[in-house]
């Protein structure tokens, strides 16, 4: 009886139970109506839901009824909620909008190549700078494998798009660096002073850059220093060049750190075995020390200090071209101090502040002596630069941003040439305003301007800048840039003649890039117009002219061949200028028409070794032959430039230290490299300008001892 009635009850209730289950089905697409698989669709507050299939359709049953909320969520899309009323089966079609992450939002890219460890999709990684063969861990040398740069290895600096090394300005955390390179000797360019390990981000801009940066006609190299280290560590290095040691200590509360570093370099032992072209008389010898301090002052604020002190001396002797049978000796002693203090903090309601102060001082004592022929020339130069910079940024909506700022520089340039004295002081101030306006997340415009005043020139300039970028899809974008750039003439002209004006360049750039995590393709065309360049003949005036135009290609592939990463860059440059002693516009002696580089890095996991090969080519450069008539000025060219660098680094642990052994050789095949010719005053004799050490072998090891803080962490549980 009981059993019977139970069966009866079941029969009565069953239809009700079945009826209470309603089917919810439908389809989910993206904004372009393409089906979206994998979307999590469910009734809010219940377990009922399903995952959309490959065709974007879904179907599930629910026991909920009445007014409900249907949720659809998928990674990298905005979660969508829709009200539904369940009284019977429900059919829904939903469209999900892409979430605005790094991949989807366009960024200004014309003219600039970025290496960053914060972002995933960048053209280069900071590590690439260190591991590029032939670059000898020098930031500028590594950048010479990128499009837009010249293989001008007989002079210091980065020569970009028909510009001189002086036209590239280097900034650390927004502050200009007055002497970024070691003082050079004739034909021997100085290396960069700053270790690539100091920086978490490097942006190399070959034109069209932001109004935040001034006083660079051609290019800005923007370096962003590391924040707090992940853990404390000691480091030690030893190589054929010298030794180095450092300490990076993270405080117990993980909110602060300090670091000290010291290095000693002496090339004399190396040069006693591998004789350079010019005979060393002193060193070369360098002592470097640095100190840094970083502190998180709040969840959004950080204070950073970096200071650097460095002494170097070197001297070389060579046969005089001017006085046959005599020898010329050059001796340089240099002292350099650089300090940089920055503070970043959020001020609330979308405002952020970046403040910075920097002081640097550079002293060069140079002695030029044609032994037993002419009296010794002594040059004593000292440049001091103090600067202050303040920038405020305000977020406007989701992505747009306004930047306002100002900077002030106080420069003292002293120079004594035997008993002559030519010193000057310049007060330079600048203000800038710039806004990144996102018309849509895929379409951005940057508009701004920079106003500058320098007391030594007693002139004001106003430089407008504008760029546009449009993202075609997740990986491709098209950009345009335009801007006026002003720069003071070099100190060596300003100290003698002060009624000069700013030199000026106007940039026009169009670029296309496709950037995915494994492939990068980039093509860029530019036109640059120069005005008011310094002329020294017949008189020192700023009335030189010039132009540069060209097209550049870049391709990087990290995937096609396993563990092989390579990039190819090619630059075509058509440039002419009338400056210094040039009689009319010609291709200058530092510019090559064709420049190309191939960089390959292959990792062999079994032996944890990285092998790198870098090949660079540049077509011949014009040189000045005083014996030719004026109509043939700079008409002769040097042989083409070729260099192939090789490096191998073996990664291992020695005891508890992460250790890298490095061996690298520059110009492995000993290609003959001629940068130009130097003539005696009478034009009867000439000498080749060649690298001082045509091939360089570097062997070294670097050790990093992480201080194991695991125990600390566990004890703090």
């Amino acid at each position: 009886m009981w059993k019977h009635s139970f069966n009866l009850l079941l029969c009565i209730c069953l239809p009700a139970l079945v009826l209470a289950q309603q089917k919810i089905s439908g389809k989910i697409t993206d904004a372009k109506k393409r089906p979206l698989p994998g979307v999590n669709v469910y009734i809010k507050g219940s377990y009922d839901g399903a995952t959309a299939g490959a065709d974007g359709t879904f179907s599930f049953t629910t026991t909920t009824t009445g007014a409900q909320v249907l949720v659809a969520s998928l990674m990298s899309f905005q979660t969508q909620e829709q009200a539904i009323n369940i009284t019977g089966p429900v059919q829904v079609t939903l469209m999900l909008k892409a979430a605005m992450n790094e991949l989807k939002v366009v960024t200004i890219s014309a003219g600039s190549i970025e290496a960053s460890s914060d972002k995933n999709n960048t053209v280069l990684k900071p590590l690439d700078i260190v591991t590029t063969a032939g670059a000898t861990a020098d930031i500028v040398n590594a950048l010479k494998t990128l499009p837009g740069t010249q293989q001008t290895n007989d002079r210091e600096g980065l020569f970009v798009r028909g510009g001189t090394g002086y036209e590239t300005q280097i900034f650390i955390d927004g502050l200009m660096v007055r002497n970024p390179f070691f003082t050079s000797l004739p034909d021997m360019p100085g290396r960069g002073r700053f270790s690539p390990f100091l920086f978490k981000g490097t942006t190399f801009s070959s034109g069209g850059y932001s109004a935040q940066y001034g006083q660079g006609l051609s290019s800005a190299l923007v370096l962003e220093s590391e924040d707090l280290p992940a853990r404390s560590s000691y480091s030690l290095g030893a190589s054929v060049l010298g030794v180095s040691g450092g300490l990076d200590e993270l405080s117990k509360d993980k909110k602060g750190s300090f670091g000290i570093e010291a290095d000693y370099t002496n090339l004399a032992p190396y040069f006693s075995i591998a004789k350079p072209k010019q005979e060393p008389t002193v060193g070369p010898e360098i002592i470097g020390t640095s100190l840094n301090f970083r502190r998180r002052t709040s969840s959004t604020g950080i204070l950073k200090f970096y200071g650097y002190c460095n002494w170097s001396r070197m001297g070389f002797k060579k046969n005089s071209i001017e006085y046959p049978g005599y020898q010329e000796q050059t001796d340089v002693r240099n002292q350099n101090v650089y300090t940089n203090l920055t503070y970043k903090e959020s001020l609330g309601s979308g405002w952020r502040m970046n403040a910075g102060f920097s002081y640097s001082s550079n002293i060069d004592k140079i002695k030029l002596d044609t032994i037993q022929k002419s009296p010794v020339t002594n040059v004593h130069a000292r440049s001091d630069l103090s600067q202050l910079k303040l920038m405020l940024t305000k977020s406007l909506g989701a992505f747009s941003q306004l930047r306002l700022g100002g900077e002030y520089q106080y420069a003292v340039e002293r120079s004594e040439f035997n008993s002559y004295n030519a010193s000057y002081v310049d007060n330079y101030s600048a203000g800038f305003a710039e806004s990144d306006i996102y018309f849509t997340p895929r379409f951005v415009g940057r508009f701004g301007g920079r106003l500058e005043y320098s007391t030594i020139l007693a002139k004001v300039n106003l430089a407008p800048r504008a760029s546009l970028a449009y993202k075609l899809d997740d990986y491709s974008q098209f950009s345009l840039a335009y801007g006026d750039y002003y720069q003071k003439p070099e100190p060596q002209y300003l100290r003698f003649k002060q009624d000069l004006s700013y030199m000026k360049a106007t940039h026009y750039i169009a670029s296309f890039q496709r950037l995915s995590s494994n492939y990068t393709f980039r093509v860029e065309a530019f036109y640059k117009k120069y005005k008011d360049l310094v002329k020294t003949v017949p008189d020192t005036l700023t009335n030189g002219t010039g132009y540069a135009k060209g097209i550049e290609l870049f391709w990087r592939d990290r995937k096609t061949i396993k563990n092989l990463d390579y990039w190819i860059s090619y630059s075509f440059l058509d440039t002419k200028r009338n400056y210094l002693y040039y009689p009319y516009e010609v291709q200058p002696d530092f510019a090559a028409k064709h420049t190309a580089s191939l960089v390959m890095k292959k990792y062999f996991p079994k032996i944890t070794t990285n092998i790198g090969v870098t090949y660079s080519y540049a077509s011949g450069r014009p040189y000045y032959n005083p014996n030719l008539p004026e109509s043939k000025f700079m008409s002769e060219k040097t042989i083409d430039f070729n260099t192939l660098g090789l490096s191998a680094s073996y990664l291992t642990t020695v005891g508890k230290a992460f250790t890298v052994f490095v061996i690298s050789v520059t110009n492995v095949f000993d290609f003959k490299q001629v940068y130009g010719y130097r003539y005696s005053t009478d034009g009867l004799r000439r000498e080749e300008i060649v690298p001082n050490a045509p091939r360089f072998l570097f062997v070294g090891m670097f050790m990093n001892f992480g201080i194991d803080r695991r125990q600390d962490v566990i004890n703090n549980l």
């Binding site: 995952t51 990674m75 992940a230 962490v713 549980l717």
Partner: protein
């Protein structure tokens, strides 16, 4: 008697708040059961399962297990996927879920194990640039888990796995990996999950690894 009843009241209340709905038990049992099937271990089906755990988590905001399993399935998908572009997004999702699990069940060894896996998945995006940062983080989480519960077999599985896959030059050691994986198997044999839906994954994987290491 009345006093006795009053004493019981908080106990009873505690039981009530802790009580899980039968629906929760059923759904979790079914989903956790899926994780015992080797066929579930593909990047896509891990994501499908994670969707279900996220749905349960959204409805049961006071339970740590749905968040825990959502994080586990997401990080497993990240570790298995061939598309490196997806890893960071999955790791971010897993991290958000494990943070929620962590806030519901503080200082948990299973949570630390997931954090170790998340750090490992981040290394895979760019081992050369990220190894130095996330390698120690991954190891530290294993140590933390071991400190909380030395009997958790997953600690030894992760430790052995790390030793097995890390190149010798960076401190990897295949012989030692084998020893630790054997310890893991012993711990699995002795391990009694707190409930049928408590974390208990990893034993077949430990066996596979040990077999590979044996060759």
């Amino acid at each position: 008697m009345k006093k006795f009843l009053l004493l019981l009241l908080p106990v009873f209340a505690a039981v009530v708040t802790k009580a899980q709905s039968p629906q929760y038990q059923d759904a979790m049992t079914k989903q956790v059961g899926l994780l015992d099937a080797p066929a579930s271990y593909t990047p896509q089906s891990m994501l499908d399962i994670s969707n279900t755990f996220e749905r349960i988590a959204a409805a049961e905001k006071n339970q740590w297990l749905p968040y825990y399993y959502a994080a586990y399935t997401q990080v497993m998908s990240a570790l298995m996927t061939q598309d490196k572009d997806k890893i960071d997004g999955l790791a971010d999702k897993a991290e958000a879920n494990i943070n929620k699990a962590d806030s519901l069940k503080q200082n948990d060894d299973e949570v630390a194990c997931i954090r170790s896996l998340i750090a490992t998945s981040r290394i895979m995006v760019d081992p050369q640039s990220r190894g130095q940062q996330y390698g120690p983080e991954s190891g530290m989480q294993i140590q933390k888990a071991k400190q909380i519960n030395p009997e958790n077999p997953r600690v030894y599985l992760l430790e052995g796995q790390a030793l097995y896959y890390t190149p010798e030059q960076f401190g990897g050691d295949k012989a030692k990996a084998k020893e630790i994986l054997q310890v893991a198997l012993q711990k699995y044999a002795a391990f009694k999950p707190a409930s049928s839906i408590a974390p208990h994954w990893g034993e077949p994987h430990a066996k596979d690894l040990l077999q590979q290491a044996g060759k």
